[in-house]
Amino acid sequence: MSLLEVDDLHVSFSTPDGVLRAVRGISFAVDPGETLGIVGESGSGKSVSTQTIVGLTQGARISGTARFEGKDLLTMSESELRTVRGAEIAMIFQDPLSSLHPHYRVGWQIVEMIRAHEAVSKKEARKRAVELLGLVGIPSPSQRVDDFPHQFSGGMRQRAMIAMALALNPKLLIADEPTTALDVTVQAQIMALIKRLQKEFGTAVIMITHDLGIIADIADRVMVMYAGKPMEYTDKRTLYHQPHHPYTEGLIGSLPQQGGRGSPLKSIPGLPPSLLRVPKGCPFHPRCVYAMDRCAGEEPPMRQVSGGLDHRSACWLPPEAVGTTTDIVVTRQELARQGRSSAQEESA
């Protein structure tokens, strides 16, 4: 059985401008010890979906299920959820400064967190806090434990957040853009730390990021999201070498490649849609170079395609059209042309 099983999750918010449909039906599973990467651009619903799972979206309309070890987190009472959140499922966020209270010492905040979940003495908890800070690589932890968050550098704050997240040895760690605010050399330190701790404690990780480089580094399986929907779901190797969905292809093409200096990047034309007015049919079709007649009318379901063992994609292109090589792209364009009506061809 999977550690976390999310099934057909929908999240929407009422705004003065209408209903904002942030997540429109996602399903995924995380096994113990594995790393699931969720990639997407701003507004793709990647953060909202995980925040909903741990009960951090207030005032949202939610449907679907999210079973953690068999228990549905979405229907749990607040007090039940409190025992799970922090202890079983831990989170780290992009901005460590806004997740640490500026008025309290770092050590105190870790102690508080441990004592909220376990009946241990202050002294015992403090000893654990020092150990944890040492574990995540804070120099001279027994002194730094009494520092305030502003006395820590950005990288140290994120380390402190990781120490806090791991204090109760959680089974699942949700990392929401944990290194986006950090410099590359510090990012490398933090990613190495997360990998090492994952190996040591067997924690499952959901890594939310917009950076495909981080996904290539850490993820086992990857879900690509766009406009609140999953577009593609597969293992990372298949995703990079044999993508099926044109959005994935576009994302990979948008990255500067080694040796491609000076040549134009294959950018995706247009802009992501507003979640208040998501286009009919496939949400990506207005930007898609392969768009066919069918794409504007019918929303493609997630279905099996022939890249890897468990490779699913929400696109009307035939399941065997995977990959980024030139002949595949030509075949796709040909298929797309066949799918378009002749009238549209003439106008184009």
Binding site: E41, S42, G137, P139, S153, G154, G155, M156, D183, V184, T185, V186, Q187, A188, Q189, M191, A192, L193, R196, H210, D211, L212, G213, I214, I215, A216, D217, K236, R237, Y240, G250, L251, I252, G253, S254, L255, P256, Q258, G260, R261, G262, P264, L265, K266, S267, I268, P269, L271, P272
Partner: protein
């Protein structure tokens, strides 16, 4: 030794020349009387030549002084000492009115497309500002010029009367770019122009910048912390650390043969978007954080984090010069430069 003497290039190739540029900011002191006032050594002796028509990338971690340097170049900051010469003319001591003709030739594009546009003004008037300041074009003429610019950067000229809030992040960056290009500058300093944008939009803006460079013959100083982006756009790259340039070379040369240990570590820390290469490369993980620029370390500023540091590094400040066996355009500031292919010995375990 100036870059010029070293490379034997003539004055005409050089559009912008920095000689020993220093920028210190005073730190507010908490002592009422006496005591020496402390300074943030944001830029501490940078010499660099920017050639006409090239794109030079400026990379480094936060706090290394790359943005301060950009602001010294465009005279948004006055330098503490040293000179900035544009087209052979020292502009670092010009008065505001004397500077005005040079301001037209140097423009800046900022990171935050939200913060650099006045939310209460219409886009047309924001882009038309440079014309107003320099007294060029009136009324309908100015409007035509602005709409031409909007078309040039890929905006719909009909959106002339809209407010910045009605545009997306990528479009706002295009507005900032249109404003920068209004007076047909020769040099555009781009300070993290794509960092706030999503990947797919980032690619659009990078392509636009390249396109405009071809059309208008621009020289770019391109500041970014994303090395894969810098590698894609730059002809040459200068790496900064704590207010100094530690290495400068042609892009492919720098990536192929980094000589400074910091450059090598920085390049290896960049995540590779290819799962097959991730495990092959040997990633060097630096320990610790960048020291405070208020009291930078003695000698080589990188020595407290450097796996190769020896006693000489703690006392003697290394000079930025060409190392043995390197092409004349490749300079590094290190006493013990890394040889081609030599590993920087340090395993991931030790670093943590």
């Amino acid at each position: 030794m100036t870059e010029e003497a070293r490379t034997g290039r003539t004055q005409r190739d050089t559009l912008l020349q920095l000689v020993d540029v220093v920028k210190h900011f005073p730190v507010p002191s908490d002592r009422l009387f006496g005591g020496k006032r402390e300074h943030v050594h944001a830029v501490d002796g940078v010499s660099l030549d920017v050639r006409r028509g090239e794109t030079i990338g400026l990379v480094g971690e936060s706090g290394c002084g790359k943005s301060t340097l950009a602001r010294c170049i465009t005279r948004l900051h006055d330098v503490t000492s040293g000179t900035v010469s544009f087209d052979g003319r020292n502009i670092s001591d010009l008065s505001v009115s004397q500077l005005k003709p040079y301001r037209r030739k140097m423009q800046m594009v900022f990171q935050d497309p939200y913060g650099s546009l006045n939310p209460r003004r219409r886009v047309g008037s924001i882009i038309g500002d440079p014309f107003a300041i320099h007294g060029m074009g009136k009324g309908a003429d100015r409007k035509t010029k602005v709409q031409e610019l909007m078309e040039l950067v890929g905006l719909n000229p009909e959106h002339y009367n809209r407010f910045p809030a009605e545009f997306s992040g990528g479009q706002r960056q295009r507005i900032g770019l249109a404003r920068a290009l209004a007076l047909r500058p020769e040099l555009v300093v781009c300070d993290e122009p794509v960092s706030a944008l999503d990947v797919s939009i980032q690619a659009q803006i990078i392509n636009l910048l390249a396109d405009l460079q071809g059309k208008l013959g621009l020289t770019y100083i391109f500041i970014a912390h994303d090395l894969s982006v810098v590698r894609h756009v730059s002809d040459r790259i200068a790496v900064m650390y704590l207010g100094r340039i530690v290495e400068v070379a042609d892009t492919e040369e720098l990536f192929a043969r980094p000589r400074h240990p910091y450059t090598k570590a920085l390049l290896s820390a960049v995540p590779t978007p290819d799962p097959d290469l991730v495990n092959e490369r040997d990633q060097i993980i630096l320990s610790g954080d960048v020291p405070s620029p208020i009291r930078p370390p003695s000698g080589c500023r990188f020595h407290p984090r450097c796996p190769r540091a020896q006693s000489r590094c703690t006392t003697e400040d290394p000079v930025l010069n060409v190392k043995d066996g390197d092409v004349s355009d490749h300079a590094a500031a290190c006493h013990f430069p890394v040889a081609d292919g030599e590993p920087l010995v340090m395993s991931q375990k030790e670093a943590l």
